[in-house]
Amino acid sequence: MSGKDRIEIFPSRMAQTIMKARLKGAQTGRNLLKKKSDALTLRFRQILKKIIETKMLMGEVMREAAFSLAEAKFTAGDFSTTVIQNVNKAQVKIRAKKDNVAGVTLPVFEHYHEGTDSYELTGLARGGEQLAKLKRNYAKAVELLVELASLQSSSPGSNAPLLTSSQSWMSESEKSSIG
């Protein structure tokens, strides 16, 4: 108990009752904040674990996709200009949704397909099989990227309220230990 934190009070019975009520209120507040910070910590740890797993998987998938590009180029020749010129509308799009954890809203991204494949007939005369494999590999890579982006954008989102709530919790716990 440091000298600065002493509350100046007139020692009467009513003052004691009031002080006890204040103590109870402070303790309830601290418990609620503790629960909030625990829930956020749990969520944060889950997100971090998933981020690590996804990043490892990402490395593998990108490597596979780049290699299938080399295979497709070996069989089909150079189709890059055809692909770039026929770019039209996006086939894979993202929706942003809100998720609620202990009162904190976190953004979540979800991908969906729209429209048909405008590159269906590319590689008709040579390399069609390799091109189909290439499309599948890169689609997988894009889906993983969307998931990773979703996780990484929600992790600072959950980190900030976690820090503020844990700071408030600690200052509250200091104050309540005085009274």
Partner: protein, 351 residues
Amino acid sequence: MLEGAEFYFNVDHGYLEGLVRGCKAGLLTQQDYINLVQCETLEDVKIHLQTTDYGNFLANQTNPLTVSKIDTEMRKKLCREFEYFRNHSLEPLSTFFTYMTCSYMIDNVILLMNGSLQKKSVKEILVKCHPLGRFTEMEAVNIAETPSDLFNAVLVETPLAPFFQDCMSENILDELNIELLHNKLYKSYLEAFYKFCKNHGDVTAEIMCPILEFEADRRAFIITLNSFGTELSKEDRETLYPTCGKLYPEGLCLLAQAEDFDQMRRVADHYGVYKPLFDAVGGGSGGKTLEDVFYEREVQMNVLAFNRQFHYGVFYAYTKLKEQEMRNIVWIAECISQRHRTKINSYIPIL
């Protein structure tokens, strides 16, 4: 046509035939490929290539060395050799060379048409065009609004005009889908080239006609295989098959009706040449694909073309073998640079 090419071939074409045979002797051998496969980095690849016919072709490249730089330099070298042959040729060899460049011209025209439809600048597309398919009217492509105008204004002067005629009715281009147009043009081109070789007669016909027949049948098989599961209808598919191969006419009818790989295989079993090729296709992801098997057969036929003398097929065969060699080197370089060496031996061996 007088028989006995050996009497008069060398008068006009002997120098070029000797030259192309010398160039063919400089193709990479199995030992060279073994050395390349053992390289750790692209710098090692460059050092190994310096000992071959390629010499110091990468000497002026700045660091870092990438696979696309190697590819561009190899293509430039091939183009220089081809242009040299072409500039020194006389008729009818020069018509033969023109036919060879038509396939690259078709690719370039499709690129340019696509680009002008998308309102892209001509300059950036010109850079991407294949150098062997250059023709003088290329820069004029952007004046046309629609493909039909393009044909009437620009392409009617090029050697590609007769191929476009087959795709047109009443001066309007039928086919609006670029990919289908591409394949139809290629079909007309193959048939015209085949007729030219056949009319020339002599050893050239004996060598080139089987090669072109194989090319036609190969296209028919691959188009069928790649059209399973797409929105390409059976009638459309049939219009894309070249008719100058062994499969014409019964095989092509049967192929047009095929709906999966096994039905295609049964069509191929009727032909003694194609049955062993289909048998060599491994199932699933481990073995060879149909395209790999076809590539190997093409390389085999091209190498055999050098066993006869006094014909134009050596030039065609040399160009195709050189392109395959470029693809092999790029494949090995990509495997090395991506450090993914499991399939590094899947190149097609030539000699």
